[in-house]
């Protein structure tokens, strides 16, 4: 049995006051909405892309100047690995040298705060983004398919990382 009764008009004001009071007394954590959106974005990738995880993150200081600092990030799902070396380039931007292992060709895209760059990996699995702005980045390796035989490889994406 399903009974649904809407509150009558004369109680509407009281309910509104109760809503206001509870919202102020026991407010929802500020970052709850953002946490959920991040979780859903990951969940919502569909079958086309698989999410890689960050397994290695190291910072190398060459000399003592932080300007020459570079970082290495390694993402993998066990079967495929994307290795990135992020180093300073020119005026506050970054150069990203990347390797796919096992070596394979494919289109790589990087999205930094909404700006997208894309590039093809060499047959050795190497790729370079010479000049990328700082910001929150995410990289995508697009799925590959063959006109005759259909899908060859699914796509992969990294979690967000900071450049």
């Amino acid at each position: 049995m399903t009974t649904r009764i809407a509150p009558s008009d004369d109680n509407r004001d009281l309910y509104a006051r109760l809503r206001g009071m509870w919202s102020r007394l026991d407010p929802m954590p500020e970052d709850l909405v953002d946490d959920i959106l991040v979780r859903l974005a990951t969940e919502n990738l569909g079958d086309e892309y698989a999410l890689l995880t960050l397994v290695e993150h190291s910072e190398e200081l060459v000399g003592t100047r932080s300007l020459s600092e570079s970082r290495t990030l390694e993402f993998t799902d066990g079967a495929i690995t994307i290795l990135l070396r992020v180093s300073p380039s020119g005026s506050g931007t970054r150069r990203i040298d990347g390797w796919l292992a096992p070596a394979s060709t494919g289109t790589l895209r990087i999205v930094v705060d909404g700006d997208e760059h894309s590039i093809e990996a060499s047959p050795e699995g190497r790729f370079v983004f010479p000049d990328v702005a700082l910001g929150r980045a995410r990289m995508w390796l697009d799925p590959q398919s063959d006109e005759e035989s259909g899908p060859v490889r699914r796509g992969f994406t990294t979690p967000e990382f900071e450049l």
Binding site: M1, L14, R24, M28, D35, L37
Partner: protein, 204 residues
Amino acid sequence: MEEGNSLHTYSDSSRAQPAELWDRAAAAFTAWRSGQPGGVDELVRTMTPVLWNVVRAYGLAQDLAQDVIQSTWLILIRRADTIADPRAVAAWLTTTARREAWRAASRGARSIAVSDDVIELALDDEPSAEDVALADDGDRRLWACVRTLSERCQRLLRIVAFDERPDYAKLAQDLSMPVGSIGPTRGRCLSKLKDALLAKGGTA
């Protein structure tokens, strides 16, 4: 996503009548299902504050309440196909959240009675967000009256305040009450609250 932005959406949601939120949720759901980018974001921003209140009414601790709300959204993503009528999405979400909250509460070790939990916030000596929030006289008077009600009344009123038309059959199950007594109980809780407010010289 900026903090200021989510705060704005939050207070916006808390003041709106449930019916307005239900319409907004239906529109966002339709947008999302038709592939419009941002549709699901709008749905999450609109309904999460409502779910927070519904779930907290079950007496779940903060972290557990967050888990329950997150799984409610994941269930929606997986089963969105089964919701044929966009106008049903808000009710679907609150019903699912209540079911998940009830399950979590009955597994129980980490749950805290909502009344104690909230009183603690209200009586906190440290100058905190809660003190600032309850600086409002009307709020303080209302809370003083709500606190005199039974835990069951507090729970029921919080759910009904945020959930426009809770499904009484499921609600009865959750609160271990016969379905026929939900309406009368709600009525009694409401009149006790009004009496208490009148006794304090406020308006009911």
